[in-house]
């Protein structure tokens, strides 16, 4: 999986490929500095995200809770249909902000 991070007041995380148990470990390492950094809004761009397992879902929850705790926002955009189905099955679509 490829992780691209564009830091700023609005930080954009672009994921390309598969967010599984193993690649989630890589993303988790990137999340902590973002949550402790200057970002007031974090956007996850899922245009090229093709797969997500529960380990990845857990990180979405971490981002959502972490940003909310510091008074910021977290939202997802360009989520593909197959991934959206997983978010719906797990009820994540109702607790995350998805554009």
């Amino acid at each position: 999986m490829k992780i691209t991070i564009d830091n700023g007041k609005e930080t954009v995380i672009s994921l390309s490929g598969e967010l599984d148990t193993l690649t989630s470990v890589d993303l988790e390492k990137e999340i902590a500095p973002i949550l402790h950094g200057e970002a007031e809004a974090v956007v996850l761009n899922g245009a090229e995200l093709t797969y997500i397992s529960s380990a990845g879902l857990r990180l979405l929850l971490t981002l959502q809770k972490g940003m909310k705790a510091k008074g910021g926002t977290f939202r997802l955009k360009n989520i593909q249909k197959d991934i959206m189905d997983i978010l719906n099955i797990t009820g994540f679509s109702s607790i995350l902000t998805i554009e």
């Binding site: 599984d20 148990t21 193993l22 093709t50 797969y51 397992s53 529960s54 380990a55 879902l57 857990r58 929850l61 971490t62 959502q64 809770k65 909310k68 197959d82 997983i86 099955i89 797990t90 009820g91 607790i95």
Partner: protein
Amino acid sequence: MTNTLIIKNELEQLTRLYAFLDRQAVTYGLEELQLMQVKLALEEAVTNVILYAYPDKKDQDIRIDMSYENKRLTIVITDTGTDFNPLERQEPDLTLSLEERPIGGLGIYLVKQLMTEVTYSRSAGKNILTMTKDMH
């Protein structure tokens, strides 16, 4: 015909599992969405075994048998670890708000949702999880 993969109880071994499934999916002619759903169920079920079946023990075997007949995919995951029925785990409450929702506990729920049937049995000191998915 059944194809078999035996992996050790380490998360790094998941890459072998993914490769095994990819090969079988080509043989079976699975569609992209079907493959994605099966991969997710398989990853969740096997990760569960890797993390919990053998507490504090390394170099233990996990066996995955896969077959495809009459448009039905059957996957059997066998381990000789501690007696544990993952299907008895309490299902996550999907209606909980963000603050109330515990992080985790979704894996087996996903397995049940994505596969047609999932059964567990304990026999001769083995945990046997059987998952089937009808491909129509």
